[in-house]
């Protein structure tokens, strides 16, 4: 509490004009600020040594049906206390301009471009105003998240061309890759500028897979939308549905039974295990080390089959519901699970010893794709990628959710920021996940697994929730509408913040190393494109 008071006092003392509101959830403060002071205040929160706020989310909201304005919201996470500070401002009447904070806070660049595409609000002073989500064939003036744009609108096609950044000079040539790739990969476009072998510039062109997820959320009720949250990014089924459920439960003021909290942590750790095992294998595969790949994908398959036996879905789909979980796991199942995981841990330790003893593999991984701590901070990078670059953050420890308040997590942290560090973080987290599941087995209380929602939230009430998925911090903002429907749901997969950082990690590396670097980030295209 003292941390919160400290931060609030600091802000109100430095900027007397700002208005303080009731906090929207635990460990948070909310201020309304005048539009023109936004850059100064956000810059202060970002740079003030005792605050060091990391831009965690930036979203807009079309409030025009209720009052004649758009809302803009900026969420910062303070470095030391992990306290949330939300700044909000209004664009009233026909005002469509807002000051860009990108010149001060680099991490805002994609958020502001996204707001421009989805709402038609223009970030003044943004250095790059090309379209992001809407590709060039979308007609001018289509802004899907405006309330008067219908969710099933049929888009027309127009002519247009995306302007890539070009590097001119003798011997410089461009290598376009994608959107259809040469493996079983999702759709995205990469454009390399190279002179000889080293990459001079990489430009991403994403959002091919944009499915209109946020608009679809607005057509659903608060309790039904779990299904959609599970399908935002298939490999993070549990992470997304859990973050969504947390947000809705805060809105409904719903107490989740302890047993359900433990089961949620269990599902989340199982998802982490499966994906990290797969990633380590895939990274080895990209260095042509097929043996490690075979072993890791074999172990991943064991976890997927385990999931299938536990809840009837290899991706743990349908396990989460608002108010708790929909599947109980009894004592004997849990015991079998822990025994199987003991076996997998022994198995993985042996494979790990083989992997880390391989000198030629180490040679490929070390000093490849370095993401420095400074660039990681500037992009507000999160999750595995952040922890490999010295960003000491893990929502499970910093803002405990589910059962993590009783399950202390040892956070894996490395400083080199290369591919090997990202491999090591995953390796450590696999052991940690198995340890946590053992803890869950030892501590899980008996009791009900779900509580029924008994009330509807007030229209316009909103809240935030964050969950540490296997990839990193997943953030959901849910604003309630009329009759238990959703007015606005902002989804932020860790991929959205980590993708731009990859453009820096590849510089100076050779193109053949790009698949390896990309795999070490292993970001979701679906979760990014929404």
């Amino acid at each position: 509490m003292s941390e919160a008071m400290f931060c609030d006092d600091l802000l109100t003392a430095a900027f007397p004009g700002i208005l303080k509101h009731d906090p929207i959830c635990a460990k948070s403060s909310h201020f309304t600020v005048p539009k023109d002071r936004l850059p100064a205040i956000s810059h202060y929160i970002h740079t003030q040594p005792s605050l060091r706020g990391r831009l965690t989310l930036l979203w807009a909201c079309d409030d025009r049906p209720v009052r004649d304005s758009y809302g803009l919201y900026y969420l910062f996470t303070l470095e030391a206390s992990h306290h949330w500070v939300v700044l909000s401002t209004e664009l009233a009447g026909h005002d469509r301009l807002f000051p860009s904070i990108t010149p001060h806070i680099h991490a805002a660049q994609w958020y502001e471009r996204e707001i421009r595409d989805m709402f038609g609000l223009i970030p003044q002073g943004h250095p790059d105003l090309r379209r992001l989500v809407r590709h060039e064939h979308w007609p001018k003036g289509t802004h899907p998240l405006q309330k008067d744009f219908s969710w099933n609108h049929v888009l027309e096609r127009q002519q247009g061309e995306y302007r890539f950044h070009h590097i001119d000079g003798e011997g410089v040539f461009e290598v376009p890759v994608g959107p259809i790739h040469a493996g079983i990969i999702e759709a995205g476009h990469f454009r390399f500028s190279v002179a000889g072998e080293p990459i001079m510039q990489l430009e991403l062109r994403h959002f091919w897979k944009h499915r209109g997820v946020e608009k679809l959320f607005e057509q659903l009720t608060l309790t039904d939308a779990v299904l959609l949250a599970e399908r935002v990014s298939g490999d993070t089924t549990v992470g997304h549905s859990l973050a969504y459920c947390h947000a809705v439960e805060t809105l409904l003021d719903l107490q989740v039974p302890r047993r359900a909290q433990y089961l949620r942590s269990l599902f989340l750790e199982l998802e982490r295990l499966a994906n990290h095992l797969g990633d380590i294998g895939a990274m080895c595969n990209d260095t042509a080390y097929a043996l490690a790949h075979a072993h890791c994908s074999r172990m991943k398959e064991r976890i997927m089959q385990l999931n299938d036996r536990l809840v009837g879905s290899r991706f743990l789909r349908g396990a989460m519901q608002v108010g708790g979980v929909s599947w109980d796991i009894d004592r004997s199942q849990l015991k079998l699970l822990v025994e199987e995981l003991d076996g997998i841990q022994r198995d993985f330790s042996e494979v790990g010893a083989i992997i880390f003893a391989n000198a030629s593999l180490t040679d490929r991984l070390e000093s490849t794709g370095v993401l420095t701590e400074r660039i990681a901070w500037d992009h507000a990078v999160t999750g595995v990628v952040g922890r490999a670059s010295g960003m000491d953050q893990d929502v499970r420890r910093d803002r405990p959710f589910a059962a993590y308040d009783e399950l202390p997590v040892n956070v894996a942290l490395y400083r080199y920021g290369d591919v090997r560090a990202r491999l090591r973080v995953r390796n450590d987290e696999i052991h940690e996940a198995i340890r946590l599941i053992r803890e869950i087995h030892a501590r899980i209380p008996d009791g009900p697994i779900a509580s029924e929602p008994h009330s509807l939230p007030k229209p316009g009430a909103w809240t935030l929730a964050a969950v540490e998925g296997w990839r990193g911090e997943i953030v959901y903002m849910v604003m309630a509408g009329k009759d238990g429907r959703i007015h606005r749901c902002k989804v932020r997969d860790p991929s959205f913040v980590n993708w731009p950082a990859i453009q820096w990690a590849v510089l100076g590396n050779i193109i053949p190393d790009f698949p390896l670097i990309n795999k070490s980030f292993n970001l979701s295209y679906a979760g990014n494109d929404l």
């Binding site: 590709h135 064939h137 979308w138 899907p144 744009f149 219908s150 969710w151 099933n152 609108h153 049929v154 888009l155 959107p179 259809i180 040469a182 493996g183 079983i184 990969i185 999702e186 759709a187 959002f207 091919w208 897979k209 944009h210 499915r211 209109g212 608009k215 679809l216 299904l227 959609l228 399908r231 935002v232 990014s233 298939g234 490999d235 089924t237 797969g278 043996l291 075979a294 072993h295 994908s297 074999r298 991943k300 398959e301 997927m304 089959q305 299938d308 290899r314 991706f315 789909r317 198995d347 042996e350 494979v351 010893a353 083989i354 003893a357 979701s524 295209y525 679906a526 494109d529």
Partner: protein
């Protein structure tokens, strides 16, 4: 070196250690089987993502792991549509990928088979009607085989592919 051999000996053969799929929901039509006849026991697949949530991709990748090992049935993944006999399409076809899908289809040499993998590819699933979705796949290119599921299990995919190859018994 000895460690690696010891490990491999201890693990042994894991191929086939999965629960066999039940009868597929949508059986492969005789027309599709006729179309697949020229490929005999070798099927080169190009996987095309048109906006899936990536769970279908993960299950396609799982087909290649040592447990399912689709290669033993002559099923392999081609790096380019020009090397492919069959396109496996996932996702509800987003507006941004519509043209890419048509291009890929055009680039794949005849004769070819199109397999719609997952509920999204078959009927757009939960994304049906969205402004950003123009699918399902059969609206844009002719579909021969449908594998429903969200996502379908690798064993189910394998069973359908085997049926397509004229091997009625699942592996």
């Amino acid at each position: 070196m000895f460690r690696i051999i010891k490990k491999s000996l201890r693990i042994g053969v894991v191929t086939g250690r999965y629960q066999k799929a039940e009868q597929p929901e949508l059986p492969v039509t005789p027309e599709a089987q006729d179309k697949a006849r020229p490929f005999k026991r070798s099927l080169a697949i190009r996987e095309v993502d048109t906006g899936s949530c990536n769970a279908c991709e993960m299950e396609m990748s799982a087909l290649l792991n040592p447990v399912y090992d689709a290669d033993r049935f002559g099923i392999h993944i081609a790096a380019s549509p020009r090397h492919a006999d069959a396109l496996v399409v996932t996702g509800p076809v987003t507006v941004n990928l519509e043209r890419a899908l048509k291009d890929v289809h055009k680039q794949t040499p005849d004769p070819k088979i199109v397999i719609a993998l997952g509920d999204c590819a078959i009927n757009c699933g939960i994304f049906k009607g969205s402004y950003a979705v123009t699918g399902p796949v059969e609206r844009h290119i002719p579909v021969d085989v449908r594998i429903p599921g969200c996502p379908p299990r690798p064993a189910e995919i394998l069973a359908v592919l085997s049926e397509l190859q004229g091997k009625n018994k699942t592996a």
